[in-house]
Symmetry: C2
């Protein structure tokens, strides 16, 4: 379904806490939904630990392959916050104090509290520009097609507001969902496959739900595409075919 005119993106999640299981990542989903509203295709995500070699390798692979890369994590004041240095190494540039970032942090902490650790947060790769942080002020940064953001979900989400105007939007992907209750994927797979083969410019997905002891079970059929009229028509036709096969549906 990918429209090659649409910008593409990747996410790089940085942090031992994700891979150790200590923290459950929620940023990927937030970024995915954010990019969907802009019509940008998120094609890949990776999570790596706090190791410079891993970060550099992943970042260089992703920024070469996609229009945009969004990283989360590792930009705080402690020794395990190595993202700025790793991004500098990936781009082959020095990491230096950014005057504007320094001014923001000096203002926030005041002379008694602005210690060396906090001053580290003013260091960004040479040539980078800041990403505003309306929550705790310590900024993220953009360098080239890479947007470096905080790992704390509330801060990351706030930073996206400053990132949005810098992105080239694509045509938004329209989504229709047909909810089939009491019928498993296997029972509608043939109908769905025929619909997908008839419309190769749309994407058809099938997602079962309800494997708990209580509650209803069924399948959600998701039709996606950039042409609203085509998506609506496909939803209309598939709904009719499901009803003809005696299957109860709800469209959302």
């Amino acid at each position: 379904m990918t429209d090659h005119a649409a910008p593409t993106a990747a996410v790089l999640i940085i942090g031992d806490e994700i891979l150790s299981g200590r923290t459950r990542d929620v940023n990927l989903n937030t970024i995915a939904r954010f990019l969907a509203t802009l019509g940008i295709d998120l094609l890949e995500a990776r999570a790596v630990g706090d190791r410079q070699d891993q970060i550099v390798a992943a970042l260089n692979a992703l920024r070469a392959a996609h229009d945009y890369v969004f990283t989360t994590g590792g930009i705080g004041p402690t020794h395990d916050d190595i993202t700025a240095d790793a991004v500098g190494a990936a781009f082959g540039v020095l990491v230096v104090e950014h005057p504007e970032a320094l001014a923001i942090l000096e203002r926030r902490y005041g002379p008694g509290e602005f210690n060396a650790a906090r001053r580290r947060m003013a260091r960004i790769p040479e040539g980078g520009s800041l990403i505003a942080n309306p929550v705790t002020e310590a900024p993220g940064f953009q360098i080239g097609n890479v947007f470096v953001m905080a790992g704390v979900p509330k801060i990351m989400e706030a930073m996206l507001q400053d990132v949005a105007p810098r992105l080239r939007a694509g045509a938004v992907v329209h989504v229709r969902t047909i909810r089939v209750v009491g019928v498993g994927e296997g029972a509608i797979a043939d109908l769905l496959r025929a619909a997908a083969e008839a419309r190769p410019d749309l994407s058809f997905g099938s997602y079962p739900f309800g494997f708990g002891r209580d509650g209803e079970a069924g399948t959600q059929l998701v039709i996606r595409g950039r042409d609203t009229a085509k998506v609506d028509l496909a939803e209309h036709d598939l709904s009719r075919e499901l009803r003809s096969a005696g299957i109860d549906i709800a469209v959302t």
Copy 2:
């Protein structure tokens, strides 16, 4: 901190629904915690869409670099379930009906309901062995060092029970957490850096919490290592240093 004697692992999340933002992945965290109990180091995770070229490239990179790879998603009966074929392509083997899988599915569905779509779920790459699915029976499979599991979290989690005995366990990483309330990361960064530099065989992490309007804010300091005595000693020493600096702490 990585002990090179410990087995390493990667996770590959497969599915358009993750990258479109429709579904928030929870399997990575489940697998991360599962591997932590076995002393296996999860070093990397990737998420890709339902595209064979993407799955093959990611899987071949990950299975060459790690002792184990765990995939989630794409093993159902519908046309967008392409994981078995992609894994077969990655390994360069045919994908064929597995007699045991066929028997399981025939028993589950009975003659009237066992259609071609459901029969597809018996197809696995040649040489693979089954992973039991106690929830809906349709099995996952193992081939080489790759474990292919369902995307539905309840099923994925159940499959891990059949995977566990096949894995070589490592020494478990012990974790101590020091909770510092009312003190930001920047205030304890110097102490933490000194502790980390004094003990390069342990890992020291710092995770701020509490950026909401209500509730307390502070920092969690996490010490990790395979030698319990060393982790305990590090926690003891760092706690003492924090208290000496006039910082209130709680150890968990």
